[in-house]
């Protein structure tokens, strides 16, 4: 799924990165070690952890995008880190629950 589509689904704005990036699924967690343990390569990360360590984790597990929920403010150094690591940052007013639900439905149509 292209990020532009995922952004539309979640009402997210693209803070940094390309809207043409593709994601193949998602993982939702605010525990970075949990993300390390369970997120798959290609997953979008759905979280409220708006700091640069989240970028490091995303880069290490091969997550191409991070959705920051609840409109949490994103610090400048996180944006810079994401740009440097070529990871897209998106910001949505939705909670992790809602954002994940919308993405999950799109990936698993029933």
């Amino acid at each position: 799924m292209e990020l532009s589509h995922a952004a539309t689904l979640t009402g997210a704005i693209l803070v940094v990165g390309s809207a043409e990036k593709k994601i193949s699924g998602g993982y939702t967690s605010d525990l970075l070690s949990d993300v390390m343990a369970h997120a798959k390569t290609g997953d979008a990360l759905v979280t409220i952890q708006a700091h640069k360590n989240t970028v490091a984790v995303a880069s290490l597990v091969g997550a191409p995008a991070i959705f920051i929920c609840n409109n949490r403010p994103i610090p400048e150094d996180m944006i810079e880190a994401a740009a440097a690591e070529d990871i897209a940052l998106l910001k949505t007013a939705l909670s992790q629950f809602e954002a994940s639900g919308r993405l999950w439905s799109a990936f698993s149509p029933s």
């Binding site: 070690s33 390390m36 343990a37 700091h51 360590n53 984790v57 880069s59 290490l60 597990v61 690591e85």
Partner: protein, 312 residues
């Protein structure tokens, strides 16, 4: 290329040690060209020219009686007494040195007496050799060379014993306590290196997880440490050592969910008690040792020679 650990400051110590351990007999020339007291100075001059030497000990019935030096020859040339015999003109105020003395004695003798050579006597007082400054230098060079060879051999043996095979790549990084702005940098660089070298993604990911968790463990809990990542032909090794405070109960720390992290650290998404178990889960070999007040050492390895872990 390994460097030989002789520091410029300390090498004179090695030289001194050699000077004390070597004896005069180890450095002296044993094939001494001698002449009898009845030889003329002209004959002795011929011997000096032929053998390219500057001093000839004079023996009488096998005992050292004097020495004719190049200085004596020059004196004889000057006074026209080249045809006189050695017994009449030789230097008899001899300074000799005992063959069993340490070489350091010979060095002091050269300093004290300003002679170019010293006859060397054995325990019975018989001439058994002659020693010059260049004999000492030559012997020292040989001894130093032997010493360096021994050191190189020892180093190579120690390295082979301690470190096993040499890695293809070795990287190391320092970590600072609670420095979350740099946390993960070392692991990110390591993962990039792996990917650049063609490491398959699933292996690079395992290595990155182990590396990141150990790195974060140091940042969160330790008073700083080092991370060393090495890539071998058949494995990837991540080594983490910190300077304390140490883990009181390693068994407990390895249990998922157990954490001593504070609220602030937890608010950042860390300290959920998953780090060490995560690192262990992705590793094929995992070694942890911790001592209170000393620190924690962890070695996590991923083997590259089995099952799905095939690199090339």
């Amino acid at each position: 290329m390994t460097t030989v650990p002789i520091s410029a400051d300390k090498s004179p110590g090695i030289v001194l040690e050699l000077l004390y351990s070597l004896k005069v007999k180890d450095a002296m020339t044993t094939e001494v060209v001698t002449a009898s007291g009845s030889a003329t100075l002209r004959e002795i001059q011929g011997i000096m020219k032929e053998k390219a030497i500057t001093g000839v000990p004079i023996l009488e019935y096998g005992r050292l009686e004097g020495i004719v030096t190049i200085g004596d020859i020059i004196g004889a040339l000057d006074s026209g007494s080249l045809d006189k015999i050695a017994r009449e003109l030789m230097s008899t105020s001899l300074v000799t040195i005992d063959a069993e003395m340490p070489l350091s004695f010979a060095v002091t003798y050269f300093d004290r007496y300003k002679y170019g050579r010293f006859p060397v006597l054995d325990g019975t007082g018989r001439l058994c050799g002659i020693i010059t400054a260049s004999d000492i230098l030559r012997r020292l060079l040989i001894a130093l060379n032997e010493e360096i060879c021994r050191m190189e051999k020892r180093m190579a043996e120690r390295q082979a014993k301690e470190e096993g095979p040499l890695p293809q790549v070795e990287m190391s990084f320092g970590t600072m306590p609670h420095d979350f702005s740099k946390a993960g940098n070392a692991s990110q660089k390591f993962k990039k290196t792996l990917v650049e070298r063609g490491c398959p993604p699933q292996i690079a990911r395992k290595a990155a997880i182990a590396s990141y968790e150990l790195e974060l463990n140091q940042v969160i809990h330790s008073s700083g440490g080092i991370m060393r990542m090495r890539i071998f032909d058949d494995s990837i090794e991540i080594f983490a050592r910190d300077e304390g405070p140490g883990i009181p109960d390693v068994g407990l720390a390895m249990q998922e969910g157990f954490s001593t992290a504070n609220e602030w650290v937890r608010s950042l998404g860390f300290g959920a008690g998953m780090g060490l178990p995560n690192a262990k889960r992705v590793s094929d070999d995992f070694f942890i040792e911790s001592k209170m007040g000393v620190g924690t050492t962890i070695r996590a390895s991923i083997r590259l020679d089995q099952g799905e872990n095939q690199w090339n």
